[in-house]
């Protein structure tokens, strides 16, 4: 008989005290039928499956790049259908508002005129590109694929932690986690009706192809490609997976050329026109003529083709202005301003540090707060106050004093936890959920998303580059939530 643990002061996805919640009961009963050896064998088989299929990401360290798999944990995050409907609506609402914002900041800037978002916050943003101000883009849609990171607080309430509107990665892991779960842990699916992932990529493909360039005749077939940085990129598997399932060529910058403001693909039979580029390289690297001139990944004069309406680039150039950690604070106001609605899912309380009084307060409370660099991601350049040393706090104190606009602070949330099974025992780990939102003529939310888990005991960092792992996420029909 497996005994897990006491959920304690944290909200636990699976447990109330030491007992399973209603939607986890069937899973829990099934779990009891496995011996430690069986679970160990399955665990080993699951990890090998990722390695065998080459589902790896590259970590760069002192010894150069090494290929690693994202550790997989078999206990899924189970979300009852009703809860999911709320999340789904919240995600659609948020992405719609963010898209309005992006269209607005690169055109009329009504939200600045209305005094809601400070002009300086836009103009000083390193991801706000003058090069694309006024550019008309297909469907006026800047966000083809968003990855919104959600957490739950100690009461189980969902909050948005972060918006990723540039190149959110991880969708392939959603599919691979489900694949491994079905293959190696089929017993656990008994008696659950789960939202399927099959067919969902059809929505992504439709959304992709709906971004017909402004100048393109309506009766011509759209040719799309996925632009990758290549096999050494940490998310290369994600790129391969999506290109394969979207049925579009996976290309590198050197495979493309711009002639007379039109983008072409270099094929064995000569040049072939490209209409839509789903790029997975950052803005700075897209075009060495207009952005970083040392970029080896981009395509010279791509921006010319984009600005002339001859090619669509997805996600649009310049989305970073909307997903930076300082702009995040204004998203609820964006929802109110553009959609005239109240946010369905709240933000985590965030302190901007340019205001003297707020900054002073934050600097005296560093031990209780989380401090993040507004431009960083992947858990880098971040201080987790309660886990920090005096020396680390001093370093961040100085960083904040030197560049207050570069950092934000948030209260340390008691992140929800879920059980993980590693090294032969169960223990509670902090989790978050990346939800993928696909937009074209319509807007869809991939059911579930990528549950990320901080497998290092006590850690709050879920990023795969820092020891985080993944879990399958089930949206189940027909069970109520017992929170």
């Amino acid at each position: 008989m497996w005994k897990l643990y006491e959920s304690g002061v944290f909200y636990d996805e699976m447990l109330d005290g030491s007992k399973p919640k209603k939607h986890y009961q069937t899973f829990y009963q099934q779990l009891q039928s496995f011996s430690e050896q069986q679970l160990y064998d399955k665990h080993h088989a699951a990890q090998s499956s990722f390695l065998r299929q080459g589902i790896t990401f590259t970590v760069y360290g002192a010894e150069g790049g090494t290929e690693r798999t994202m550790p997989f944990d078999f206990i899924p995050i189970i979300i009852p259908e009703n809860t999911w409907k709320m999340i789904e609506s919240g995600m659609k609402q948020r992405v719609k508002a963010l898209n309005h914002f992006l269209q607005d900041v690169y055109h009329a800037q009504d939200i600045v005129k209305a005094g809601i978002v400070p002009k300086a916050l836009i103009e000083n943003n390193p991801y706000y590109y003058q090069q694309v101000v006024g550019t008309n883009i297909p469907l006026q849609n800047h966000i083809f694929l968003a990855g919104i990171d959600l957490i739950r607080d100690e009461n189980g309430k969902y909050c948005v932690l972060e918006d990723n509107l540039r190149n959110p990665s991880g969708m392939s892991y959603v599919y691979q986690n489900r694949y491994v779960m079905r293959k190696i842990y089929p017993e656990f699916f008994d008696d659950y009706a789960i939202e399927r992932l099959e067919g969902q990529l059809q929505h992504l493909q439709e959304a992709l192809l709906s971004h017909r360039p402004i100048n393109m005749p309506v009766d011509e077939e759209v040719h799309a490609v996925l632009l990758t940085a290549g096999i050494y990129n940490s998310a290369y598997y994600d790129h391969v997976f999506l290109a394969k399932h979207l049925n579009i060529p996976l290309v590198e910058g050197r495979d493309l050329v711009v002639k007379e403001n039109v983008v072409y693909l270099k094929t064995i039979l000569g040049l072939k026109r490209v209409d839509v580029i789903y790029r997975r390289i950052d803005d700075d690297f897209l075009d060495p003529v207009y952005f970083r001139e040392d970029s080896m990944l981009g395509v010279p004069h791509l921006l010319d083709a984009y600005n002339k309406g001859n090619v669509a680039i997805l996600n649009a150039i310049g989305n970073g202005v909307a997903d930076d950690k300082a702009m995040y604070q204004y998203v609820p106001e964006m929802i109110r301003f553009y959609l005239k609605e109240e946010p369905i899912i709240d933000n985590v309380k965030t302190y901007l540090l340019e205001d003297d009084a707020t900054r002073e307060w934050v600097l005296t409370h560093l031990a209780e707060l989380v401090v993040k660099n507004v431009g960083a991601s992947g858990g880098y350049d971040m201080l987790i106050g309660p886990h920090s040393t005096e020396e680390e706090r001093q370093i961040f104190y100085e960083k904040i004093v030197e560049s207050p606009h570069q950092y934000i602070a948030q209260p340390t949330i008691k992140l929800s936890r879920a059980p993980a099974f590693q090294n032969g025992h169960f223990y509670p780990c902090h989790v978050d959920l990346r939800v993928f939102v696909m937009s074209g003529e319509d807007i869809y939310v991939l059911p579930g998303g990528l549950s990320r888990v901080a497998l290092k005991e006590g850690s709050l960092v879920v990023n795969s580059s820092q020891g985080g792992g993944g879990k399958d996420t089930w949206i189940v029909k027909g069970v109520g939530e017992h929170a």
Partner: protein, 315 residues
């Protein structure tokens, strides 16, 4: 199809074929060596055949002057500075497959990736032990054969398939020409019939030849391995397959580079179209040498026709 992708697929075809052929040649040589006396004069004369056919002989002799069996095995299997060592060609197959995963069946990737991971995890240590080495070679050959099966059963006959196959056929034709060229050069130094027997053994066609013919002469073996289009390892077989495939790719369309490719291919095929019995030994040697050189030259001509870029090498 993207030129870069076509290029990677072409090189997967070449490296996979090279891996399979070299693993076979080394395996055959190890078996033969078991029955030889190392002090035997013939053994010494034959000991450079395999490094010549499967590697770079000057490089080998410079770095392994002792030329022991262990040296040869290390150079041809594990030496990463030898771009043709099995470790290097397997890594190159995997790297190029990784670069084209969106165009390949998962099973093909998994087959090569499994072998690569086994090597990385130390399943076949570099310390020489005959059993370990032959097991490793068997594993490599099985992987290569399974991968060929996966390609034939699961791949659509589209451009990707065609470039994989062109790489494989060209590699095979060139290897057969290389083997024959070298054996003819040293034929006088070997025991009677040894060169032609080796030719059949190293091209893995001894059984097929015996099934087809009872006569074993230099002329008949040369005809079999050069111009017989029923022998899947003959030079002509590969070249005709390449010709059919490039005509299929072009579908009548052409340009200067493609014209050059057609011309080079026709010239090469014409060289193979000969009855070796009508030539003197000196003429045979020259003919085989020309065939080999033209096979080597054809790769860059093909690359020019399809805008191919340099391959990814093992790093």
């Amino acid at each position: 199809m993207l030129s870069r992708v076509a290029d990677s697929l072409y090189w997967i075809g070449r490296y996979a074929e090279r891996t399979q052929a070299n693993a076979h040649i080394l395996y055959a040589q190890l078996e033969y060596t078991l029955e030889s006396n190392h002090k035997d004069l013939m053994y010494e004369k034959e000991s450079l055949i395999v490094p010549t056919i499967c590697g770079y002989i000057e490089d080998y002799q410079m770095r392994y002057p002792q030329n022991t069996l262990e040296d040869m095995v290390h150079y041809l299997i594990y030496d990463r500075d030898n771009f043709n060592s099995l470790i290097a060609t397997i890594t190159s197959v995997r790297m190029n497959a990784r670069n084209t995963r969106d165009c390949l069946p998962n099973e093909l990737w998994e087959e090569w990736n499994d072998l690569y991971l086994d090597i990385q995890e130390g399943a076949y240590p570099e310390t020489f032990a005959l059993l370990n080495t032959t097991n490793f070679l068997t594993h490599i050959r099985k992987t290569a054969l399974t991968a060929t099966g996966v390609i034939d059963s699961l791949m659509t006959r589209d451009m990707g398939y065609k470039f994989l196959k062109i790489g494989k056929w060209l590699e095979r034709s060139e290897k057969t020409a290389l083997i024959l060229h070298h054996l003819l050069e040293i034929e006088g130094q070997l025991e009677p019939d040894r060169a032609i027997r080796l030719g059949l053994q190293l091209t893995n066609t001894a059984e097929e030849y015996a099934y087809r013919s009872r006569v074993l002469t230099v002329d008949s073996v040369l005809n079999f391995l050069i111009s017989d289009v029923k022998c899947s390892r003959s030079v002509a077989y590969g070249l005709y397959k390449i010709r059919d495939t490039v005509y299929d790719i072009e579908q009548g369309l052409t340009n200067q580079n493609v014209e050059n490719m057609y011309r080079a291919l026709d010239e090469l095929i014409a060289l193979t179209n000969v009855d070796m019995a009508t030539l003197t030994l000196a003429e045979q040697k020259q003919r085989v040498k020309d065939i080999r050189q033209n096979c080597t030259d054809f790769g860059p001509i093909l690359a020019q026709a399809y805008y191919l870029t340099p391959p990814i090498l093992a790093v």
